[in-house]
Amino acid sequence: MRDFELLQPKNLADALDALAQNNASVHPLAGGTDMLVDIRAQRAQPDVLVALQNVNELRGVTRTNGHLRVGASTTIAEFLKNPLLTEHDALRQAASVFANPLIRNSATIAGNIGSASPAGDMLPPLLAFDAQIELVSKNGTRTMPLNEFFLGPRKTARNANELISNLQLPISNLQTASAFYKLGLRQADAISLVSVAVWLQRDSDMIRDVRIALGAVAPRPMRATRAEEILHGQIFNETNVKEAARVASEECAPIDDLRASANYRRRMVNVYVRRMLEQAWRNF
């Protein structure tokens, strides 16, 4: 394993100073559950790691003005404990099948986002909740839709001098429901073959608004926007749901790998988009 320097800043300003060298081999370190494995396997070779566990500014979950603000250092385990988080079904369900309890205690939401694996378990539900991501650097902050943050496998819009500071989820509990499923080759500690998150807003029999997000079936976690369009403003019925599921399976772009074929993944998108829409609707 290659040597690296470990910095442990005590506050955000020091952390941003450390990153300000704007050097690609300086990297933030959150829970370390991806980064340390990658370093050992020589997939990552940082010279400097900036550990964030002492940076209090990155912690905390608050709810204000219809937004849920989730600090970058929020651990996955907190999504199973904090009532502000657990009331959102898709997030809670994703957290409950995220790796294993040990990893969940260490891994953070920003780490999962920053790693930008197409199969990252928390990413489809965050996309389904239309999360905005806030990035901070010495030069200031900027906010963008999370959907625009992922550029490709392990590639993001984060500049080397930036940190993910928090996520903002527009929350309206008025007639909304969500659902998530992860298909893996075992019940825990598995990499997704396919994951599906949906978010629905209902207006009597109608779907007022809908978001469908898919994991592990494209170079990055993706919104199935064509499928969403089929449902938007339409009646929730079997025909519409089936058609949306079919279209979602067409607009994803999975690959063959050692875990499953692209064809199988496509088919599972079809099955699970349908099932998650039905499940979310049942939750109203």
Binding site: M1, V37, A41, N100, L183, L185, R186, Q187, A188, D189, A190, I191, L193, L258, A260, S261, Y264, R267, M268, V271, Y272
Partner: protein, 776 residues
Amino acid sequence: MIRLDQPNLANLPELRHIGKPLPRIDAMGKVTGATKYAGDYVMPNMLHAKVLRSKYPSAKILRIDVSKARGFPGIVAVLTADDLPGARVTTDIPGVTDTAKRAGTDAPILAKDRVRFMGEAIAIVAAEELAIAERASDLIEVDYEPYPAVFTPAEAMQPGAPIVTEPDNIVARWRIVKGDADAAMKNADVIVEGTYKTQFIDHAYLEPEAGIAWVDENGVLTIRVSTQVVEHFRSIAAALQLPQNKVHVMGALVGGGFGGKEDITVELFIGLAALKTRRPVKMIYTREESLLAHCKRHPFTITHKTGVTRSGRIVAAQVNMLADSGAYVYLSPYVLLYAASSAVGPYRVNNVTVNACAVATNNTFTSAFRGFGAAQACVAYEQQMDEIARELDMDPRQVRRINYAQAGDTTPNGQAFRGAVWLEECAQRAWDALGEETKANAPHMKIGRGLASYMQSYGRITWFHDTSQAWVGLEMDGSIVIRCGVPDIGGGQMNTLAQITAEVLGVPMERITVYGTDSALTPLAGTTTATRQMYMSGNATYQAALAVRKTLAERASQHLECELDEIDFADNTVFVKNDASQNMPLTQLIAICAAEGLPRANLSLFKAPFTDKLDPDNAQGDIWPDYTFGAQAVKVAVDTETGEVRVLKSAACHDVGRALNPAAVAGQIEGGAAQGLGYALMEDVQIVNGVTLTPSFAEYLIPTASDIPETKTIILESGTGLGPFGAKGIGEPALTPMAPAIANAVADAIGARVTQLPLTPERVLEAIDKIETRFS
């Protein structure tokens, strides 16, 4: 755990320690973390060693340049094939009295001019620090030239195929002929054919391969290693050209073996480095190294052709088996024999032909794995039994009942089952334990139930002339020492010896200390393989303890003035059976014996039955001392839209002869069922064109606690085993029936069969698609 005594069937006497679920002597250390494993040992002045491994599955080595490594600060030694004395390690079974080695079964310790699989060892680097040793691959230059390769047994058997093992890639063949299967097949009403495939899997023990070697003050090469076989000291001596008494192998408690530590692992690498540097050298495989470069379970393709009558009676069977032995032979010939001999399972089949072949390829080498070929055979024969039932439109359990072997029936080799054969009893109880049939809770879900019966030998091949020795002695304070070279791989091997001795000498377990797993200081007890230690070393210990008891009892009968057979031992006391008021403390008796020079210790050798080798024409003859029988039943839920399988219930019933420690037996059964679940549903070392695509536990999946249902364990005790107190082995048998039981349950659920393990969701869905195509 349910334990059923069968007073009508076996009249076993009530004992004081045997048959009790006593806490194991090794439990506290493991629970508290105090137990030292081989990799935990450190020594002053110790070096760390790493192996440089081949990057290609098949290549010529044109040049190895170690000059950069040799001059690198902190690197103390670099060894290549040029530095080795013998340069080859025998892969034959240690302790075999037949000295004629099979030709061509040796493997190089370090590759010289050719590598035959990806991960083959090329050089050893010993350094002051592990991080420096890990730089070996940066510092040693190897020039390769790709060499033609073969990656499947079928390719390797083609005329003109590249040769991995001389002369023709055929590593072993067994042809078993009993009766006349061709002729009998003509009398069949129905002929059922099926082909079943199994995959490479990994032992995935908690503790990877590890050891530390040093040259002691007497010039003895001493190796502390995680191993199932301390008797590898002989092949280590041969490979290093040392006298056998100059190699000392000390084991440690092993963090899981499952056959993966049956062959030599790190011993020669660290032994060579210690001899070269004259300093202690330690090596621990990384998990990735263990997955890449140590042995795997043999993948098999097994084809059954079974002739049956309309009423369900099997009249003939023809079975073909093809196994992938990987790049080196190791134990393939024996794994293949286990498979071939159990090809038709525990059924009465009078006309059988088995043709089995193991073939070399440029894949990772394959060798021992819990079940040792007999497990792969069971995957096939138990699915075939269900297929026969389907063809005949009969209940699979009824087809089994009609065909189950009975005591006195014979294997395809003509070996008779001499003890109780409680197949039907085991199957019935396991099935009943699943409970009532249940209905799925959603239209896309299907529930299925499956059963598998099995037979699995315990004890080694009888022409290996297997023996074990144990020493039992009383100290002056009435405490006991047992010395027996048994490697304890977590199954409670040492505890078993303590429990037997406690029973015989009437001393509580906490007053007994067991020394094991040392090739020089404990009497040699053979390998912890082949489900043999309870049987072999248990009997050796039992004999030794009985001999001590006899001496003591004779002296006590004089002192207490009674007949010899009236003397009994319990609770550190010697007493007259029918009048316990006539007694003496054990320590008083020991003092008398000591004063009179009577022996208070005994070294005993237990000898398994010895037989001649098999008839070379038809492989007829005895192969093993005895068999364990049992059954596994499971209930599964299958999602017919996705192919996902969940095991809802698991129940296993085994006749273990006598459960010396029922808690330990239940532990084996639960663990075996869990490992079998992994084999059935997810474990798969994917080796494609010689490259392992599952190099870590992120890709190679074993079941988690969330995947494993409770296994209801039902322990039957026929009392007819060859072990002490009528016990039979359970280590390997516990795994064998699980995978086919799950395959049968999935087939029951969906009405179609996935004939290739593991039953991934995608394969299950393909099978469902085929039915739907058939009907549409």
